[in-house]
């Protein structure tokens, strides 16, 4: 076995160096450079950038849109997961495949699709909605729709496997003892899926805060009105001057920080850590 052991060690080292080198060049080094660039002139310019009204507005808008999108996706996600796992109905398998579609569709196509339906001028439903006073495209409701669209499957993908795993015995026991549907859900089902639900919510939130392409099309990206944080990064980076550049880097750094924190939360608290399904 001597030769095999030696060649195995050589292969192991070659692969290790290759993989670490590849990830360093593609991810680690570039990400570190952005962090360094953000703080290249110390903390003061970063804090100044954070006090700009455009920056504050963009982050507030992003947070509120992400909040509503996550609320919608949580309610819808838990509901549809229960329906998919616990019930049979015609078209169930098709629905199960279709709920993954938002992860596969280009954000630009998402934006276009929403404009075609909800634009006040030409959209299928947009005109009627505008008559009852609801402006969707180029307004916050459109941003919420686009955000909810792109992050829709994340809660479902976390909750469905757990629901399948826990089975229905406890739920049946509860209902045979006279618990109502709501009581069974709150006392039995919800505690069982709470971790999966939490991961789903964290992932949705991170995805929602970072959406760019779809939001760009539906919002128009007007500063102080419909400009979210990611749109602010784009606009400021393309403008000249050190102030704009530091604003772009600061906003990008905060977005990256939130994304990485969400990732660390999910990977370190997941009980089946190290064995991703």
């Amino acid at each position: 076995m001597g030769d095999t052991a030696v060649s195995r060690t050589t292969t192991q080292w070659t692969l290790r160096v290759l993989v670490v080198g590849y990830l360093t060049l593609l991810v680690i080094w570039p990400v570190a450079l952005v962090a360094r660039e953000t703080f290249a002139h110390g903390l003061a310019p970063v804090l100044d950038a954070l006090r700009q009204p455009e920056v504050i507005f963009a982050f507030e808008l992003t947070l509120s849109a992400a909040f509503w999108a996550v609320v919608i996706n949580t309610i819808f996600g838990v509901g549809i997961s229960l329906l998919l796992v616990r019930y049979t109905f015609p078209g169930r398998r098709t629905l199960n495949a279709l709920v993954d579609l938002p992860l596969a569709v280009s954000p630009v196509v998402v934006g276009l699709a929403l404009v075609l339906v909800y634009s006040g001028r030409t959209g299928w439903l947009g005109g009627s909605l505008e008559q009852v006073g609801l402006k969707v495209i180029y307004a916050p409701p459109g941003i919420i729709l686009a955000t909810a669209f792109v992050s829709m499957p994340l809660v479902i993908r976390e909750v469905v496997p757990v629901l399948q795993e826990i089975g229905t015995e406890q739920e049946q026991a509860a209902s045979s003892l006279g618990a109502s549907g709501l009581q069974t859900f709150v006392r039995i089902t919800l505690p069982a899926i709470r971790w999966a639900l939490l991961y789903g919510v964290v992932l949705s939130l991170a995805r929602s805060l970072g959406e760019f392409g779809a939001v760009k099309i539906v919002s128009g990206g007007v500063a102080m009105r419909t400009q979210t944080a990611t749109l602010l990064v784009e606009e400021r980076y393309q403008q000249f001057g050190a102030v704009n550049s530091i604003i772009a880097y600061t906003a990008a750094f905060i977005l990256a920080l939130i994304a990485v924190l969400a990732l660390v939360v999910v990977t370190s608290f997941r009980p089946d850590k190290g064995t991703p399904r």
Partner: protein, 297 residues
């Protein structure tokens, strides 16, 4: 964006099977009638509301894209797709996506291998690093790549506004897909099988090719499908990085965007319909692969 975004889901079990799967390990399977899983009035109402929302948010808008694309009939559709600038954009997008998927098939498998079979300090960090590209907002991803491969690169290269930039951006955003589909399968392969092959005199390469690779193939295929789909639909990371130059670095989604900005919605929808169809094909392919794997183990 999720760790599981690239992972093949196990196929949806029948609700009856679910009870069976849950009890098969411990107890007996409960005899239950079909009535337990058919819709009650409450769940029926819930399904109605859920479907209404899903239609308003996803199905009707995506249908609108296809309807808009067919607005001018077949000839207008083909004309939109055959305009030289659109054709160049589609060619660049598909070409780079194929190239990136090929690199991912190799590197993704290698990374999954190292994460599962190798042990060294700092390996846990790599686990997080793999998912960063999906977690980062795409516009930030562009900024990130620009810092190492743009005009002020410490490496002394400047690939901004070239087709290399498109390649890099695709490579970055598709990094996790094959890793995350191959990793769980690799974890489940019993080392005994490999030891048996080795004791029968198989070389390391033969073991990999004859024993390991066949069981990884479905996972690699799913990961490659996801990776290709993600690459052709990529937009955000290219905005700052590739310059979006017509005929040289303009990709399909940028083409759609410039059609939208020029108020040419039919042309935009024509290009979008291509991306949408590829997405549908990928979803169906993944469904088929996961069912096959579930059936044949």
């Amino acid at each position: 964006m999720t760790q599981r975004a690239g992972v093949v889901e196990p196929p949806l079990l029948e609700p009856d099977d679910t009870a069976g799967a849950a009890t098969s390990s411990g107890g007996r399977r409960l005899p239950r009638g079909r009535s337990a899983t058919s819709l009650t009035p409450t769940s029926g109402l819930g399904l109605g509301v859920a479907l209404l929302w899903f239609s308003l948010l996803v199905l009707i808008p995506l249908t609108a894209v296809l309807v808009q694309a067919s607005e001018g009939g077949w000839s207008a559709y083909w004309d939109a797709l055959r305009s030289p600038q659109t054709l160049a954009a589609l060619r660049l997008t598909v070409g780079q996506a194929i190239l990136v998927t090929a690199v991912n098939v190799f590197m993704g498998t290698a990374i999954a291998w190292v994460l599962v079979r190798d042990h060294f300090p700092g390996k846990q960090v790599l686990e997080v690093v793999i998912d960063i590209p999906l977690a980062l907002p795409t516009i930030v991803a562009g900024l990130v790549l620009l810092s190492l491969y743009g005009p002020s690169s410490p490496l002394g290269v400047n690939w901004a506004n070239t087709s290399v930039a498109v390649f890099l951006a695709f490579l970055f955003v598709t990094l996790p897909f094959i890793v995350r589909t191959v990793q769980p399968v690799l974890l489940e392969i019993e080392p005994e099988v490999e030891e048996a092959a080795a004791s029968l005199g198989a070389t390391q390469f033969t073991i990999f090719r004859r024993v390991i690779l066949p069981s990884l193939t479905p996972a690699i295929a799913s990961g490659a499908a996801l990776s290709f789909c993600r690459a052709i639909s990529e937009y955000g990371s290219l905005v700052l990085l590739s310059g979006n130059l017509p005929y040289s670095t303009e990709v399909a989604s940028v083409r759609i965007l410039s059609y939208i900005e020029g108020d040419k919605l039919t042309e935009a929808a024509a290009v979008a319909s291509i991306l949408l169809i590829v997405a549908l094909v990928v979803i169906v392919t993944l469904d088929v692969i996961s069912r096959r794997v579930a059936r044949y183990g």
